[in-house]
Structures are given as structure tokens and as C-alpha cells.
Symmetry: C2
């Protein structure tokens, strides 16, 4: 498969999983977390699904499209392992959803980051929170959820905190 | 529409237009041009549609995925307006297809670039060549072609050199 086709499938899977997760937590109250702002495209999509005041975004630096940058209250800048472990000081309510857009070209680094984040994310999440991720997680207390139709197994990942 | 949805539509339109153009020129012989290597995703897709030895890529710099970089014969590095006007020295046969992936965030600059390229591209193209572009062109001798199904008017552009 060409890298263009593979890319289209990945971003479509991302969009479909975010939409699906938003349906799963519909009606619940709590914060929403985005790990990885990047160019701000998925943050902008999440703003279309949730009240922007509820969304807290983490990234090492802010390099997004100018229209897709959260205000200072909602943008937590720094290395994930510096910002996520103590994030409950910045995020007022347990999160009902988190999107982990944390993969890089370096597979070993992505696996290692997911492992480290898996130790800290559960305490930021409400019971029943949905985790949407570009990396697989193996976290006790997170059960895998079926992917929405059209998204192939392994292309994106969904879990629920039990 | 969120920027994620808009982006998915744009890259899908790009892929569908490239596939459609390849069908339109099927069986014809000639070079294929890619203006704008970027990360190499569309170049990789074009390699799945055409013999890679026929594809000549132009860009100011080479910042693509390592697996998506043409060899020195097929990669023409420099500002478009320095490389395209004299490209017939590097490209052995008139092109049967060109993909112009030339838009930047700066709309005025993109419009101006399309205008300048429109003065030089026709002499690199064979009669009947298909132009696929992210920018509209107004070139005498290029007739607009219908877009493939599912691609909204204006999202991508197709022309034929008469």
C-alpha cells in the first residue's frame, strides 16, 4: 500500500475513533485530554465534539496552526513525563476521554512512551473514561473496546477504564 | 467542518485525482512530473501508478521520508522558477501527467506561483497530458476535466493539455 493510502487510512481511523469515543461518553461530565497537539488538526476536531473549555492539551512545544492553539489555561507545555504525572493540578476534573497521539517515527521510543504514560494516565481518568490512542497500551484496569466499523484492528486503539 | 475532516477530504481528493489521471493516460508513454516532494507520500503513491523511472520530482529541498526520495537523476532540487523553465534538459520525454502540489499556507503566494508555472509547464507536456493540481490554473490550451466521483468542485483541479 502506498504511504498516501496508508496515511489516509490512519487519519480516517483517528477521526472515526474520536467520533466513536465522543458518542460513548456522551452525557457524562468531566475533562477531556489531548496528548500531542501537533498541527492542531485533531484538537480542532475534538473542539467540534466537546466543549473547548473542557479540553486540556499537552505537548512539548506549540507548533500548531494559529487558529488551533488552546489558551494558556488549557495548553500544558512540556515533556509528557514532566507534565502528565502531576497534571491533576492543572486539570480540574477527572477526564472522561483522552486522545493519545503520541507515536513518532521511532517505534521503540513510542512503545516506551506508551509504557511510561500507562503508569500515570489512570489517575487522571474517571471510571468509564475512554482512551483513544495511536499506540497500543497494556494497562491493568483498561479493557480494549471494539473499533468503529471500517477501522482495521491495530490501526488505532480504544480502551475503557473500568 | 473541523480541520481534521477538511484535511481527510483534501488528501482523499488528491489520491482519487491521481488515480483518475493515471487511468486517463493509461497506455501512453512519456515522463511524469511531481512538483512538490514534501514528505514523499504522493510521490510514493505515484510510484504505485507509474514506472518510477519515468517520474521526475521537483522541490526546493529534500525533506521526505528516507524511503520516498528519488535518485539524483529523478530529483531536481531548487526553486520551481529556477528549475521548471529549463527542465526539458533533465526530463527526457514530454510528460503525460504532472501533479502540482504547490500550495502553501500563503494563498497569494500560491496563486502567484500557479500563474508563473502556468507559463512554463505547457512546453514540458505532451498533447493530451493530464494536469492534477492543488491550485487552479488559467492556462490557454488547458481544458478543465471533470473530477472523479466524490471529489467536490474546487477541492482539487484537473486539466488536459489540448
Amino acid at each position: 500500500m502506498s504511504r498516501l493510502n496508508s496515511f489516509i487510512r490512519r487519519v480516517t481511523a483517528q477521526r472515526d475513533c474520536l467520533n466513536h469515543a465522543a458518542e460513548l461518553v456522551q452525557g457524562r461530565s468531566g475533562s477531556v485530554l489531548e496528548l500531542g497537539l501537533g498541527n492542531g488538526r485533531t484538537y480542532d476536531h475534538m473542539r467540534s465534539l466537546f466543549d473547548p473549555d473542557l479540553i486540556y492539551v499537552f505537548d512539548r512545544h506549540v507548533k500548531a496552526h494559529p487558529e488551533c492553539i488552546p489558551d494558556d489555561t488549557h495548553m500544558i507545555v512540556g515533556d509528557f513525563m514532566q507534565t502528565v504525572p502531576g497534571a491533576s493540578e492543572r486539570v480540574p476534573e477527572p477526564a472522561i476521554m483522552v486522545h493519545c497521539d503520541i507515536g513518532s517515527g521511532d517505534k521503540a521510543a513510542s512503545v516506551s512512551l506508551a509504557e511510561k504514560l500507562g503508569a500515570h494516565l489512570p489517575k487522571l481518568l474517571a471510571k468509564g473514561a475512554v482512551i483513544v490512542s495511536d499506540q497500543p497500551f497494556d494497562v491493568e484496569g483498561w479493557e480494549p473496546l471494539p473499533l468503529p466499523g471500517g477501522v482495521a484492528e491495530g490501526r488505532y486503539h480504544l480502551y475503557r477504564q473500568v
